[in-house]
């Protein structure tokens, strides 16, 4: 008698993956987590950041970080100057996490030349944006320790809706 061959009964085990060497893994450790995980060595101040900003960022983000054609870096969320441009209602100053500023500049900015900045330049620019938002002083050294301690104003209003939904279902 022919035994049935139900697909559900077949457990598929694939094995084509190749190991990744430690050396290769070490080049992929640049994702910054909100607790400061993966922040590299280095430091910068807002004063240092201003010079880099004026040279490489101002053209899109504006002289004061809230008056350019690119995304707004400074201020609270909301409509700006009676303009109904909804993309400009968002601001980096309204982000829940400061570590994301470092993470994003390092991987993606400037938009036209991503990954062209050094870690120290990224610390300096992060410091400058935090300073423009009134969150650190212009000569305050920002390094991995200091950055992981910065509290953004909107962190307390942020809700993880996924976890809330999952917890409600339980």
């Amino acid at each position: 008698m022919l035994k049935s061959f139900a697909v559900e009964n077949i457990k598929i085990v694939t094995d084509g993956g190749q190991p990744i060497s430690e050396k290769e893994l070490s080049k992929w450790q640049y994702t910054i987590y909100p607790d400061g995980r993966n922040l590299p060595e280095g430091e910068g101040t807002a004063l240092q950041g201003k010079a880099i900003y004026n040279a490489q960022c101002m053209a899109c983000h504006g002289e004061s970080g809230n008056n350019g054609i690119g995304p707004r870096l400074v201020g609270k969320q909301g409509y700006q100057n009676n303009s109904k441009n909804v993309l400009m209602t968002m601001s980096v100053g309204a982000w829940p996490h400061a570590t994301t500023i470092f993470d994003y500049i390092r991987r993606a900015m400037p938009h036209y030349a991503p990954k062209s900045l050094t870690d120290e330049q990224v610390y300096a620019l992060t410091a400058y944006i935090l300073n423009l938002n009134g969150l650190i002083a212009k000569d305050e050294k920002l390094d991995n320790v200091a950055l992981s301690k910065i509290q953004m104003p909107n962190e307390s209003i942020a809700i993880n809706m996924w976890e809330q939904e999952v917890n409600t279902q339980k």
Partner: protein, 424 residues
């Protein structure tokens, strides 16, 4: 040859047999036929189109639409006046059925489309795993795969209707074109996750694309084990560059932005990394001043594609109201249509199979007698989720929140048949 006036196919068979076996040339058959059916002076070629009088051309190796359909194309957009952050919207009002042709699938690129070789691209999975592994494209092409017809929608689709004080004068494409539906085929993530062996504290996965800006979205491990795939094929052929060649992450029913194109690295962790897009562009401010992060599902929604914005009904008479409905949580259960601004509703016919997290096409005949009408569609999914009204949606969110606008949409038809976007 004596040709009797019998049925056309019988004549053809008789003639053909004689032609094939009787050694008659094409010319003599034609002449004989002409003599039998017509008078000597007339030929068939009088007064019929040129293309019926001449042999045609060959098909191309990779076919394209007729040149007469050149207006059916994506509507291009720039965000922040950038030449890098651009998009193309699907001309929903010009299409039919539920499949969006790959060349018309909406696409938005925050960092432009990268040029990636299939030979060199690898997918890495590492982090809280027993063994960090990577796969070449060729390896994955030989893995077991699944195919499903599913929609993909941008979280910011229909944003104009979410925030504009007065309804914008737009087409179905310009307002709602950031949604499409294709057959996506690829390798279920669970095979790859089982291969690496996820550690007990693994809960979130940082998914990174190989574009210039290294686009990142964090995805719960639960979703990856559920119905997520590494998509390698779209509508039967390999995924195209503007849809993620050589591979994209496909998360059925989730925000478009999370379906990471050109995916190359997945880092398994205990917490989300809080990427740039998760801070504001894909988070919603509520009316009571909370910031909703990680709202993944595209909720139940429908759009009437015909008649739709900026179209013109030529005359009074019978029309078919047709459109699309979808839900990021499951199948569409019902679509209701109103032609009087929401006072009365009628159930529309749903075409074909209603598929999970896919477009479903609805149709309903409508007699237009030349009166001003307001057409609306209201979808309900299999879990009882129903589209809210615009006021209901607005009451929950801040004035400038654009994401996840799934409220009931309305098209006004004026007495002279002009269709325009409106609010009810």
């Amino acid at each position: 040859m004596d040709i009797k006036k019998t049925k056309l196919n019988e004549n053809y068979d008789i003639n053909r047999r004689k032609f094939l076996f009787g050694g008659a040339t094409l010319a003599s058959v034609a002449v004989t036929s002409a003599l039998s059916f017509k008078s000597k002076a007339e030929t068939l070629s009088l007064d019929i189109p040129q293309h019926m009088q001449t042999p045609g051309t060959q098909s191309a190796e990779y076919g394209v639409p007729s040149k007469y359909e050149v207006d059916v194309k994506r509507k291009m957009e720039n965000f922040y006046q950038s030449a890098i952050f651009t998009g193309g919207l699907t001309p929903l009002d010009k299409l039919n059925g539920v499949i969006t042709p790959s060349g018309l699938h909406f696409s938005i690129h925050h960092n432009g489309i990268p040029e990636i070789s299939s030979e060199k691209h690898e997918l890495l999975v590492h982090g809280h795993v027993d063994k960090a592994l990577k796969w070449s494209v060729n390896t994955l092409l030989n893995y077991p795969m699944v195919s499903k017809i599913q929609f993909l929608e941008c979280a910011g689709n229909s944003a104009a209707n979410a925030v504009a004080d007065s309804p914008v004068d737009g087409s179905c494409t310009s307002i709602h074109g950031q949604v499409s539906c294709s057959e996506w085929t690829g390798v279920p993530l669970k095979y790859l996750l089982d291969e690496v062996g996820v550690k007990p504290n693994g809960k979130w996965v940082m998914c990174e694309g190989a574009d210039g800006g290294s686009h990142v979205r964090n995805v719960p491990l639960q979703k990856l084990y559920d119905d997520a795939i590494i998509a390698l094929y779209q509508n039967g052929e390999r995924v195209r560059p503007d849809q993620g060649y050589p591979m994209r992450l496909f998360l059925p029913g989730y925000e478009g932005n999370m379906n990471v194109k050109w995916i190359h690295r997945m880092e398994i962790s205990d917490i989300p990394s809080q990427s740039k897009d998760e801070q504001s562009l894909y988070a919603e401010y509520t009316r009571d001043n909370k910031l909703h992060q990680f709202t993944f599902h595209m909720e139940v929604k429908s759009i009437i594609t015909k008649p739709s914005g900026q179209q013109q009904l030529p005359n009074k008479g019978l029309y078919e109201i047709s459109g699309l409905a979808w839900s990021g949580r499951g199948k569409i259960k019902m679509v209701e249509i109103s032609v009087d601004g929401g006072k009365n509703w009628q159930v529309a016919e749903l075409e074909g199979f209603t598929m999970d997290k896919s477009f479903t096409r609805f149709r309903i005949p409508w007699q237009w007698r030349g009166e001003k009408s307001i057409l609306m569609s209201r979808a309900t999914d299999e879990f009882g989720n129903r589209q809210p009204t615009r006021s209901e949606w607005k009451s929950k969110f801040s004035d400038f929140t654009i994401n996840h606008f799934n409220a009931i949409n309305a098209w006004e038809i004026s007495k002279n048949g002009k269709v325009s976007n409106t609010y009810v």
